[in-house]
Subunit: 108 residues, 2 copies
């Protein structure tokens, strides 16, 4: 099973669906089996599995099957990657304002 290096926008895309967003919020609390995860959602199992597939493909979730049960977990590393990107954008934005401030300072 190769670890497809998903690009960040794919991760964002995955989180952009309300169902998948909720799945991630649930998995942040604790790992869970597919059916336990699926129970609160009013979706057919194949549909639900598709969402899990998307989350797994983009690296946000990992899963392992033992016997007939598949356990899913959140991959914290992917969250860190997202976090890092956001921080970088915030930093760029802030840096710009700092530079502007300095410029105005010099003008005095």
């Amino acid at each position: 099973m190769p670890n497809y290096q998903a690009s960040l926008d794919r991760v964002f895309w995955a989180l952009g669906d309300p169902t998948r967003f909720a799945i991630v919020e649930q998995l942040a609390r604790q790992p869970a089996s597919v059916s336990d995860l699926a129970r609160p959602f009013n979706l057919s199992l194949p549909t639900f599995m598709q969402h899990l597939g998307v989350l797994e493909e983009c690296g946000l979730v990992t899963s392992e099957k033992t016997g007939r049960v598949r356990m899913c977990s959140l991959n914290k590393n992917k969250l860190e990657e997202v976090d890092a990107w956001i921080s970088a954008q915030k930093r760029l934005w802030t840096t710009r304002f700092d530079a502007l401030d300095k410029l105005l300072e010099n003008d005095k």
Copy 2:
């Protein structure tokens, strides 16, 4: 102009498109007019504007028209919101492991 309180998954969804992702990365560096922003993209202007519309609707971008030029800026607050959500999920995840560690500690 009402400020549509966009839910977070809509923000993720907006960032999930490569074009919009790139627009945000650009706007983090500096505000820009629509045509300046659009130039590097191989898209028709209407298509490009549609992407800007999505970013604006979800609150990631603001814009203001003066004369015939519309200037776009990043809304840092939205980035903060995203950041806060990610941090919360990471915290939940970590808390769980801390609890597990404590449990194992007690078992010794």
